[in-house]
């Protein structure tokens, strides 16, 4: 009898321990690794430190989570994510440029709409621009943003005798006048470099916009509703060629890379260069804040968007293949928490892509000016053109123009041929473009 009682006690204890064990096991959270492939250090020095701090905070708040951040080189941003997604092993979070760069991935099913993971009242603050939206869903959250235009060297302007009224030039004729004054003074007016082709994207985005009436126009050019070989849409090459033919651009444009050409400006060897806003703090350090000014591309265009400014928003996406989409969304929310977006400005002098950021904090007059551009900005043309067209027409096209291989008209014809070829090669994607076009309004 006693042994039966003992057996009962033993069984009860065993059940109790088992239940306790199960409760303990369920309480102990699963160890999770969140993978984030990112880019940005190239254009925003110090971003690694900001991201490390953000990860440290996230890991402290989520003790069971480890965030593995991998910095990609520029080319890898193109290829690694779609390749990994196709193979079924994408990262949880991925850096993404805007527009077509995120849309084509989304159309292939590689991008998760954020609406389902981030509360609407928060998502609306994460500036991503309409180019990140498709059929009423937002696929990307902004990270940081910047104005896009030109830097000019005030000291060289003064040295050459550029009048105050032309500092900086606002119209095309004024720009030509300023360039001539600088050239006559023995100063290289503009420094550009096409060897790595990157400047092609910047040039098409800063110049073509002036000939457009609507943000839908570049997409219309690609889907065949407008034609690239219409003189209006290759006029921007005519203007760039005019600067080149008149000797206003450094003679080694074809053998220098984009950032080598910017170095000419940094060293005081050229009076103007094309630039993104994130480079301003470094330039101020190199040349002195009082010696630098920022300017928009002087106006030559006849389009309704000619007076618009250009800005760019970098962003982040979540992969549908992620097993931890909730945590990935949490991480994006942390990136947009007040302390973190303020740290972007305080630590790096970068403007966060969050409309809750108080722009009055921007005490640098130059960056403040580019902030005004952001507020008056329109789309970035390069984000609306499929790579199959953009890569050859703009990236390679700028080399062909400066090397004398193709005239502006021939570049227009080339872009038209590429657009036709792209439509023929991607008939399954075309409807998506039409749908995307439908969703965009000026």
């Amino acid at each position: 009898m006693r042994s039966i009682k003992l057996l009962r006690v033993f069984i009860c204890l065993a059940i109790l321990f088992s239940v306790c064990g199960l409760i303990y096991a369920s309480d102990k959270e699963e160890e999770v690794t969140l993978v984030f492939w990112w880019w940005g250090e190239t254009e925003l020095q110090g971003l690694t430190g900001w991201l490390d701090d953000t990860i440290a905070i996230f890991e402290e708040e989520h003790p069971n989570v480890t965030v593995e951040a991998t910095l990609l080189d520029t080319l890898s941003v193109f290829s690694d994510f779609p390749t990994a997604s196709a193979a079924g092993e994408p990262p949880d979070l991925q850096f993404a440029w805007n527009g077509i760069y995120v849309m084509e991935w989304a159309w292939l099913g590689y991008v998760e709409p954020l609406d389902e993971w981030i509360p609407k009242n928060e998502l609306k603050h994460m500036i991503a621009t309409p180019l990140s939206n498709f059929k009423g869903k937002q696929y990307r959250a902004g990270w940081y943003l910047f104005g896009h235009g030109w830097l000019y060297n005030k000291s060289l302007y003064q040295k050459a005798g550029v009048p105050e009224s032309l500092t900086p030039p606002k119209t095309w004729d004024e720009w030509l006048e300023v360039c001539q004054i600088l050239k006559d003074a023995g100063i290289t007016p503009i420094s550009l470099g096409t060897q790595d082709q990157l400047v092609g994207d910047w040039l098409i985005s800063l110049f073509l916009i002036q000939q457009l009436d609507s943000i839908r126009d570049p997409i219309k050019l690609c889907v065949g509703e407008l034609r690239w070989d219409d003189p209006r849409y290759y006029e921007y090459w005519v203007r760039i060629k005019e600067l080149w033919d008149k000797g206003y651009i450094n003679d080694d444009v074809s053998s220098l890379e984009l950032y080598q050409a910017q170095d000419l400006f940094t060293k005081g060897d050229a009076a103007m260069t094309i630039a993104v806003g994130t480079i301003i703090p470094a330039m101020e350090k190199a040349l002195g804040r009082e010696n630098i000014g920022v300017m928009k591309t002087p106006t030559f265009g006849v389009g309704k968007l000619a007076e618009k400014d250009i800005s760019y928003t970098q962003g982040v996406i979540i992969s549908p293949g992620s097993k931890h989409k909730d945590l990935a969304a949490e991480f994006i929310r942390l990136m947009h928490r007040e302390d973190r977006y303020n740290a972007l400005w305080d630590d790096l002098g970068a403007i966060p892509a969050d409309d809750r950021f108080n722009p009055n904090k921007i005490d640098d007059p130059l960056i403040r000016e580019t902030w005004n551009w952001v507020e008056n900005s329109t789309i970035y043309v390069g984000d609306t053109i499929p790579w199959a067209i953009l890569g050859e027409a703009a990236y390679v096209g700028c080399q062909e123009l400066f090397a004398g291989m193709k005239s502006p008209r021939e570049l227009g014809e080339k872009a038209q041929r590429l657009a036709e070829q792209w439509r023929e090669q991607n008939p399954d994607m075309l409807q998506n473009y039409f749908d995307w076009l439908e969703g965009l309004s000026d």
Partner: protein, 293 residues
Amino acid sequence: MILRTKKFTPYIYLFPAILILGLIYGYSLVRVFDFSTRRIRGITGVFIGLDNYKFVISDPVFRKAVLNNINLFVLIPILVFLAIIISYLLFEQLRGWKVYRGVIFMPYILPIPVVGVIFGYMFTLHGVVNSFLKLVKLDFLAIDWLGSPKFALWTLMIIILWKELGFGIILFLARLMSLEKEIFESAEIDGAGWWGKLFYVTIPQMRTIIEFFAIITVINMLSWVFAYSYTVTLGGPGDATMVMELFIFNKLGRSQLPMPGIASAASVFLFSGTAVLIFFLFRIRKEIGQEET
């Protein structure tokens, strides 16, 4: 005792090796052919017949790439000739020849991206090369080496020549070192001069290794020049230094919407071209061998 084996026995022993080779090379080759007939989205796609081949053939950039690859063949006789001469000079054991051998071979062991970046800087319009040419009053030679479509491919050839020559020299020198010294001594006794020994003794003795080097170089010029074109010029200016491998790479890796179908079709062309060329080269070699015997 005569050991008799059944006819299929050797194939049983060979089967594991054939299986492994088939999996490594055969499968990927089949997939490339398969991809080339599809509009790939992700890892598969709809069958579109020969459309990708049509796209590739009608693409002027691809045609230019093929032409550039063929133009690079100019390097083959230059490489062979220089490698023979220099290796022969080293074989003669000039004073300090071991140092020269090390210096000449050094470019070959440098990574191509490093070479590409350094030469990219050196050959800019206001770079070291042109500064030197101006210093020695050769201003007319100070051209835009990499920025001009007229000169970019030739400049690329100079870089390839500088980098690849070392391999040929070491290869030939190793062969020369293995030759019997008596042959050269006999030639000298018979009155052969430096050139005579080179043409009538050395080169015939090195025929096989020269053929090997030439074949390797042909393959290199067709399908091993990507790294040069990519790191030095990105195929530019325009398409002046575009090669087939870079074209394939651009369709795959330099696009937010990769085009594996088109890249595969271009790969099939490259593979076929290389295979045909190698077949003919081996055939020529066989014919030469038969003539000799």
